[in-house]
C-alpha cells in the first residue's frame, strides 16, 4: 500500500522514537546472561523472542535480529512512494544478497555442505539470482560462480581466472562488492536529485573505509600478488594513489591525516591496534551522516533513510550484545563497540 511521502515520513518519525535508546541498550549490555538479555529485550518494542531448540544461541539470535530488521525495511518499502521504495529495496536486498553470495562462495571454497551454507545465509528471498539453494548445491566454486550467468552478477565470472591463479576467493568477493556499488549508483539515479547526496555519502564513505582496510591488510604482509586496479575496482575519496601510499608508507599516521579529519577520526583506532573500532566509527559516521541529513530535511527521504540506518545499527548492536552475553563479555567491553542511534 503506497502512501503519501509526508505521511510516511511522519510515521517514520514515530518509528524512530520506538528505537532502543541509550538507557535500554545499556541495560541490555548489563544483563548477566542470554536469558536476562532476552527478558530485558521483552520489555522493549522487540517483545518476547523465542530461540528454543537453537543449536547455537548467538547465531539464532542474529537470525532473529536480521528478520526483525528486514521486516522494518519491508514495512517501509511497502509504504513509501514507488521510486523510494524501489531504491530502498535494491539498497538493502542487494547488499544482503551480495553477502549471501559471498557466504555461498566461501562455503563452496571450504567444502561446507549445502545445508550448512544455507543456514549461514541472511534470511531473505533471492533477489536477483533465481535460487540460493541451486548455487549452494553446486559441486565447486567455479560451478557456483558460473551459475551467475545471465544475472547482474555475471561480471564475477570473469574473475574466476584470478581465483584459480591465486587460489583465493578475494577476487570474487571484490567483484561482488563492485557489482553492488555499481547497482546502487544506478539505483540512486531514480531518486530525486536532492535525496541522492545522503546515499552517495554513505556508500562512498563505506567503500573508502573498506578499501583502506584491504590496503592495511596488504601492508601487514598479506601479499596477494594482484595489482591495485584489480584489488580496488572502485575508489572514491581515498584514491588509488592514497591506497598505494597506505600499503607502502612507513609513516601511516601522516597518510591517514592527509585523508582529512572525517577519515582520520574513524581510522584513528588503527594506532591502538583495535581495528574493530574502525567499523564502530564507520557506523557512527553513518549515524551522523543520516542525522545531519534528517536535520536538513525533516520531512523527506532523509528521515526514512535515517530510520533504516538507525535500525541497521540497532540490529548490529543487538547481534553483538547477544553474542557477548552468550560469551559473558562485560557491559564495559560491549559498550565500546556499540553506537546508540537514539539518545535517552
Amino acid at each position: 500500500m503506497k502512501l503519501d511521502l509526508t505521511y510516511v515520513v511522519i510515521r517514520t518519525h514515530a518509528r524512530i522514537a520506538n528505537l532502543l535508546n541509550h538507557q535500554q541498550t545499556q541495560r541490555l549490555t548489563e544483563s548477566k546472561d542470554v536469558q536476562e538479555f532476552l527478558d530485558r529485550l521483552a520489555e522493549t518494542s522487540y517483545g518476547r523472542i523465542s530461540i528454543e531448540g537453537a543449536e547455537v544461541v548467538p547465531i539464532a539470535l542474529e537470525r532473529v535480529f536480521y528478520e526483525k530488521f528486514l521486516e522494518r525495511v519491508l514495512k517501509i518499502v511497502d509504504l513509501t512512494p514507488q521510486k523510494i521504495g524501489d531504491f530502498l529495496q535494491t539498497y538493502y536486498y542487494l547488499r544482503f544478497e551480495t553477502l549471501n553470495l559471498k557466504r555461498i562462495i566461501r562455503g563452496k571454497f571450504s567444502g561446507l555442505t549445502s545445508e550448512k551454507i544455507m543456514e549461514s545465509l541472511v534470511p531473505i528471498n533471492p533477489y536477483l539470482v533465481p535460487s540460493y539453494k541451486e548455487l549452494a548445491d553446486s559441486a565447486s566454486v567455479g560451478e557456483a560462480v558460473n551459475r551467475l550467468k545471465g544475472t547482474p552478477y555475471s561480471e564475477v565470472i570473469t574473475k574466476l581466472k584470478l581465483y584459480e591463479q591465486y587460489e583465493a576467493i578475494w577476487p570474487l568477493e571484490l567483484a561482488l562488492n563492485h557489482v553492488f556499488a555499481k547497482a546502487i549508483f544506478e539505483a540512486v539515479k531514480t531518486l530525486p536529485e536532492r535525496d541522492r547526496r545522503i546515499v552517495y555519502n554513505i556508500v562512498e564513505y563505506e567503500a573508502d573505509i573498506e578499501n583502506f582496510l584491504v590496503a592495511m591488510k596488504q601492508r601487514q604482509g598479506s601479499k596477494s600478488g594482484a595489482n591495485l586496479e584489480e584489488m580496488f575496482p572502485a575508489t572514491y575519496s581515498i584514491s588509488l594513489e592514497k591506497l598505494r601510499e597506505v600499503i607502502e608508507t612507513k609513516d601511516l599516521k601522516k597518510v591517514i591525516e592527509s585523508l582529512g579529519e572525517s577519515y582520520a577520526k574513524v581510522l584513528s583506532p588503527i594506532y591502538t591496534g583495535d581495528v574493530a573500532l574502525i567499523r564502530t566509527g564507520l557506523r557512527r559516521h553513518k549515524y551522523e551522516t543520516v542525522t545531519s541529513g534528517k536535520a536538513i530535511n525533516a520531512f523527506g527521504f532523509n528521515v526514512i533513510m535515517a530510520y533504516l540506518v538507525y535500525s541497521e545499527i540497532e540490529k548490529d548492536n543487538l547481534v553483538g550484545v547477544g553474542w557477548g552475553k552468550a560469551q559473558g563479555v562485560s557491559s564495559q567491553d560491549l559498550m565500546k563497540y556499540v553506537v546508540i542511534p537514539r539518545p535517552s
Binding site: 547465531i59 557466504r103 583495535d274
Partner: protein, 208 residues
C-alpha cells in the same frame, strides 16, 4: 635385615667377597644416580623457570587474543565470522618428535605448516586470527616444556626413590650381611683356634 632373612645367607669367605664386590658396584651406581638426580633437579628447576615466564606471557597474550576475537565477533557478527573462518583452508600441521635429556624422553613439537590467515579474511578477523595463531605457537611450546618438566619430575622422583632405597635399605642391608658373614667367619675362626688349641693341649698331655 631380619634374622629370618639372614637364614639364606651362606657365611663363607667366597660369599663375603661376592657381597663386597656387589656393594662396591651398588655404591658406584648410587653415586651415578645421585649425579643424575642433581642434573635432573637442575634441568627441572630451569624448565620450571621457563614455564613460569612463558605462562605469564601466554596469559597476557591470551587476553589480547580474546579481546581481538571478541571485537571481531561483535563487529562482524557470529555468522560472518564463522563463514570467513571456514574459508581458511590450510591448517596448522604439527609433528611430534622424541627428544631426550639424561635418558628422559620428552616430546618435541615441530610446526610443519602454518595456516595462511590473512588473504580472504576481514582485517578485524585477520588480526584476531594472527593473535590466536601466535598463542597456538606459544601453547605448543608451553605444552612441550610442560611435558618436558613433567617427565623430568617423574624421572627425578624415580631416581630419588632409587637413591633413597639404595642409601637407606639396600646398602645398609648389604653392610649388615657383610658384617654378619664377617662376624660368623670370625666366630668360626675363633672356634677353630680354640679347637686347635684344645687338640694341641690334648696331644701334648698324651705325649707326656
Amino acid at each position: 635385615m631380619t634374622l629370618s632373612q639372614m637364614s639364606g645367607v651362606r657365611p663363607t669367605k667366597g660369599y663375603l667377597m661376592e657381597m663386597k664386590r656387589r656393594i662396591g658396584f651398588i655404591e658406584r651406581g648410587c653415586e651415578f644416580l645421585k649425579l643424575k638426580r642433581d642434573h635432573l633437579a637442575k634441568e627441572l628447576s630451569a624448565s620450571l623457570d621457563i614455564l613460569k615466564g612463558r605462562r605469564k606471557l601466554l596469559l597476557n597474550n591470551l587476553k589480547e587474543a580474546y579481546d581481538a576475537l571478541t571485537a571481531a565477533y561483535i563487529s562482524l557478527g557470529p555468522t560472518e565470522v564463522d563463514s570467513q573462518a571456514s574459508s581458511v583452508k590450510s591448517a596448522l600441521q604439527l609433528e611430534v618428535l622424541p627428544r631426550s635429556v639424561m635418558g628422559v624422553r620428552y616430546p618435541y613439537v615441530k610446526i610443519i605448516s602454518k595456516p595462511q590467515i590473512t588473504t580472504d579474511l576481514d582485517i578485524t578477523l585477520a588480526r584476531a586470527a594472527e593473535k590466536i595463531y601466535e598463542i597456538l605457537e606459544e601453547l605448543v611450546q608451553l605444552a612441550e616444556y610442560e611435558a618436558r618438566a613433567e617427565r623430568i619430575a617423574d624421572e627425578l622422583g624415580k631416581t630419588n626413590r632409587k637413591v633413597n632405597a639404595l642409601e637407606n635399605t639396600v646398602i645398609p642391608n648389604y653392610k649388615q650381611v657383610i658384617k654378619f658373614i664377617g662376624s660368623k667367619l670370625d666366630e668360626e675362626s675363633l672356634e677353630e683356634l680354640v679347637r686347635m688349641k684344645r687338640i694341641g693341649g690334648a696331644l701334648a698331655s698324651r705325649r707326656k
